[in-house]
Amino acid sequence: MTGRPQWEDSLFELIRRTSVDLPGDVEEALRRALAREEKDARARWFLEGILANVEHARRTDTPLCQDTGALLFRFHVPVGFDTNALSAATRAAVARATRLGYLRQNTVDSVSGAVYQTNVAHGSPVFCFEQGARDTVDVRLIMKGGGSENMGAQYSLPCADPGAERNLEGVRRCVLDAVTRAQGNGCAPGVVGVCIGGDRASGHEHAKEQFLRRMDDRSRVKALARLEQRILRDATRLGIGPMGMGGIATLLGVKIGALSRLPASFFVTVSYMCWAFRRRGVLLGRNGGVQRWLY
């Protein structure tokens, strides 16, 4: 990897953009939710406040939520690429973004309770590397707040409550159950990422990977595409609404993926993403320069 400063600059810019502005598809989903809440003045009050906040953050170049979240980086690199140098440049970019106020000091030592100055620590940021045939480095960043992360859930089917058997109807019940348990605590209206199958660890990872999908896409697996639509429709009837204060905008989206599983296990894993759904991506050239912004 050559030109380390340029890599660091590009990665810093990725973090800055992710922190201060929502991707267009998410903001659009919030506007559509507002339009649908025509009869509920309280739900409208919250959604208008949320949208005003999005504009405010963009205009003032400040983090759109003060919980700048867990930093989930996913890299797609050319074969043989030096990922050690890439993660070092990313850590340096994270430290810089923290110093400049685009990230809060948001990383705590789990044993001593000490707060890290730069958000660089064992386990932070979170990296995932994959190799591919392309000549560019594809970087995706999701910033996921703690309040929404706390609302995640994993079910081992069959599961008596909510009466879920090992089929897609069981998956529907689990997801609706998780959304009902979350109420407004994950900063509704949110998006749920779901993984059917996998093991306990890969289930959570694949559920979060669903957040890389655009709001307007549909699963290529037709049964899952239908299930996503069905759960989204069901969720409007729960009445939880923005911040759990009532309304039809309980969810903005449902994204479901599936992994193979062992015969003995059938996990359904639900990851909750708040309305402050910060997701950005960038394609970087061989020298670390920006080729194209994604989303």
């Binding site: 005003a52 906040n53 405010h56 759109l64 919980d67 809060r104 707060v115 109420q183 729960l238 009532g246």
Partner: protein, 209 residues
């Protein structure tokens, strides 16, 4: 509708004023509040000395993003954090310190509802995640306590609010909007599970060519 016309609420808060607030009333909070989240709550609950006067005052569940500027601090983001984590501590603090207002998000549990009813306190929900927009309602920073011990997010910030938007979600009678919505949503969930058409795994149109 009167509930949706924001009512001004100025520190120090009086018992009469707080008891007069109805569930679902929009308010604009002005004056002094103190941020407190997990560390400060635990510290005060365990009998730690409170450096400020909280009587007739407000606590805000918030870990702000702040930067130093000449002569003090600037708050860049000041949205709420999830309140339910303080459920074990809040009742004691409400009663011991005579708190009148708790600001946060997501609501509190039955013990806090009871404490609100007993001592005349309300819980106000503000807009979760709306950090910078809410920071624009922080007129100034009077000071900060426990910064070194607990860090920026967990420190106790003394803030002057100006027309800070919120809604009465637990009133001084201990009635909770969350409880109502939660109970209703659980009933709907039962209906969606037990009485609705189950999802069909296979449909003729699903098969890929």
């Amino acid at each position: 509708m009167a509930l949706l016309t924001p009512r001004p609420l100025q520190h120090p808060f009086t018992l009469t004023q707080i008891r007069g607030l109805r569930l679902g009333q929009l308010v604009k909070v002005s004056g002094r509040v103190y941020t407190a989240r997990d560390r400060v709550h635990k510290y005060l609950f365990d009998g730690g000395k409170c450096p400020v006067d909280l009587e007739d005052g407000a606590i805000y569940h918030c870990g702000p993003v702040a930067t130093r500027k000449e002569g003090g601090w600037e708050i860049l983001a000041a949205g709420p954090t999830t309140s339910i984590r303080e459920e074990a501590y809040a009742p004691k603090l409400i009663e011991q310190y005579g708190l009148r207002v708790i600001l946060g998000k997501g609501g509190m549990g039955p013990r806090t509802e009871e404490a609100c009813a007993r001592s005349g306190c309300v819980y106000l929900q503000t807009i979760g995640g709306a950090g910078p927009m809410l920071a624009a309602h922080v007129a100034r920073v009077h000071g900060v306590y426990f910064l070194k011990e607990f860090g920026m997010a967990e420190a106790m910030w003394e803030l002057e609010l100006k027309d800070f938007p919120a809604i009465v979600a637990i009133d001084a009678g201990g009635r909770s909007l969350y409880r109502r919505i939660q109970q209703a949503s659980r009933r709907v969930l039962r209906r969606l599970i037990e009485r609705e058409e189950p999802f069909e795994a296979v449909r003729s149109g699903d098969a890929d060519p």
